[in-house]
Amino acid sequence: MNAPAPSILNALSPSDIEDVAERRAVLAEIDASCRNTLLLLFGASLTWLLLGTVFALIASWKMHAPEFLADISWLTFGRVRPFHLNAMVFGFSTQAGIGVTLWLMCRLCRTPLLYGWIVDLAGLFWNLGVAVGLVGILAGHSTGLEWLEIPPYATPLLFVSYALIGMWGILTFRFRRERHLYVSQWYLLASLFWFPGIYSAAQILLIMQPVRGTVQAAVNWWFAHNVLGLWFTPIGLASIYYFIPKVIGKPVYNYSLSVLGFWSLALFYNWNGMHHLVGGPMPAWLITVSIVASVMMTIPVVTVGLNHHLTMWGNFKKLKDSPVLRFMVFGGMSYTVTSLHGVLLALRSVSEVTHFTHSTIAHAHQGMYAFFTMVMFGAMYYIIPRLLKVEWPSAHVIRVHFWCAAIGIMFYLVPLTLGGVLQGLAMNNPDVPFLDPHKYSVVTMTLPYLRMRSYSGFLLAIGHTAFAINFIWILARWVKTLRLPQLATPAPSL
């Protein structure tokens, strides 16, 4: 007879249950200690999400309707587009990422959030820096360096903020109560360490003491790719590694795969940067090295994918009941697909077609949205009710969010990826005119795909609005619980 898969719960003796209440209090204490700080971070990140979504819609619409809002210099496409990117990357994704990182670190280190005021101050500086920087971009002060457009007068604010967060990270790690380091913690500690390193290096070598000529391009794309690979990817993977086993109540499939997956990612991912410059004015060896590193990424991607998938194996029916699991699994699968797609895109023969096309944009959004953002959504849906000790007011609205996001991003990715490939093929065919409104030309053939992207953006916007509605609603409900008599409420907050 087939015994059910081992569950830790089955292995415990009744005497262990005595400790349950105590352990329950520890987790409650941890969640409560995080509450105010995380609400600030998540609230701010959601605001940037909404703002970034508005600017995304504007930018996307302008691409097929160039007269839209055309006479306002602050809203010209070339400024709206970097506003969108930086609002999403530094406003939404980074803050959501930091919030989730804090909560995961606290839970996994089994310590409450110590020195929360440090993080609150950091959050303030971060939002100030991002706001000042983004307004600067609209005013025309962009640095002209992709992923680094925030003008130099705003970056010191970001630096101060991150220094505070780094300090907090070290303190929490130093005073942790749990000696064993779970796989998520390797990723989170690493990313907390890597991000300021790459950002400082980029600021110094590109803005403060700029290097000369195309070495700038090398530094630029070393940095930009590492924001994806050494900052967002680890946070996303750490979240999946925590939430999937957590929600389904099963262990991660294989510890050794976790080790292999982590260290191969750490080793190979940061060498990928030059694959953004295939065919460009760089020596052959530099491009080749990054292509090789991109292909080697197959190892961590397959390893982590296997680990996640085999952990989920046999538990897919739980997707029906858990929205968090849905977001996590969608994100995890997207990670695998995006990364393998990325391996293909790095090859010279494929890049010849896809480079400079809308395919690249689709790929970027697959990673940042279909993977990272969906994972962040799932994490926030799990964390927030535990901070507030209040249920999400509407499961229906969560469903709306999930399906709008999932279907929306598919409608974004599929047409744009396909359209980009066709665009590249047209561009590589010198007999196809670049622009001829009466014929099949490189510019005109992209229009239907660009329109499709705009429509998908509206779907995504609906999803984000649904999230915002639920967030405000749950906050309102929580505020009401504060007025209830103390004895009726759960564990007191710190």
Partner: protein
């Protein structure tokens, strides 16, 4: 690890007897106290051996990586941009393919002439003269047209009964004889515009380029200068 044949089930994909290899963390400290009563325990990792296939795959990829880096790095030279080259002075994939002049001209037209004369050859009224049906294009010989392409035209000019007064871009320093010949051939024989004039060879272009080599200092051609020239250039 033992290769005992065990049936794998969805709950037990490794196919090993349930509970056999899944080890608990050493000190047995597992958190059973969710703040939320429905919450499961904090996640733990199970321990299993790594599949030999994954390790093999890793080895194969590493081998490929080493070979690829060695082969396609152009000798690791700073000035070698062509990955096919093995080092400085290596193989160049710079072979210029031989194409029909009409096709070459059609390709070049889009990003050179079409900017002003438009893809449909009709120009912009009051701004840029048309090429389609233009008597300057369809002259019996290309002598004037070659000069216009080389050193441009400026000032008042009448094309198809319409007046224009603008300055054109000269192409002497930007296009080769082969490219100019291809462009003019394309425009003079463009079927969509109903053109059927004679094609032009690179040699004809070269001859006129040589003849007019001091023209640049004098500026673009005016209409009077052009009309003073014969339509056909007698071969030197």
């Amino acid at each position: 690890m033992s290769s005992a044949i065990n049936r794998s089930t969805p709950d037990n994909p490794a196919g090993k007897p349930a509970g056999a290899d899944v080890s608990l963390p050493p000190d047995g400290v597992v958190d059973l106290a969710p703040a939320d009563p429905r919450e499961h325990i904090e996640p733990v990792e199970a321990h299993r051996p790594i599949s030999i296939w994954l390790v093999t795959f890793l080895g194969v990829l590493l081998f490929w990586a080493g070979w690829y880096v060695q082969r396609y790095s152009g000798g690791y030279e700073a000035l070698v941009y062509d990955e096919q080259a093995m080092g400085l002075g290596g193989a160049k994939s710079n072979a210029v393919p031989v194409i029909d002049p009409y096709v070459l001209g059609k390709r070049l037209y889009g990003d050179t002439c079409a900017k002003c004369h438009q893809p449909d050859g009709l120009g912009l009224p009051g701004q840029y003269p048309p090429l389609a049906g233009s008597e300057w294009v369809l002259a019996s010989g290309p002598a004037r047209m070659i000069r216009i392409v080389l050193d441009a035209a400026q000032g008042p000019i009448k094309v198809k009964g319409m007046e224009f007064n603008n300055v054109m871009t000269p192409w002497r320093d930007t296009l080769t004889d082969r490219q100019i010949a291809a462009l003019i051939t394309f425009v003079r024989t463009q079927k969509e515009w109903g053109h059927n004039a004679t094609p032009v060879t690179p040699e004809e272009v070269a001859a006129i380029r040589q003849k007019t080599k001091n023209r640049t200092a004098m500026g673009p051609w005016t209409v009077n200068e052009l009309l003073a020239l014969p339509e056909n250039e007698s071969s030197p």
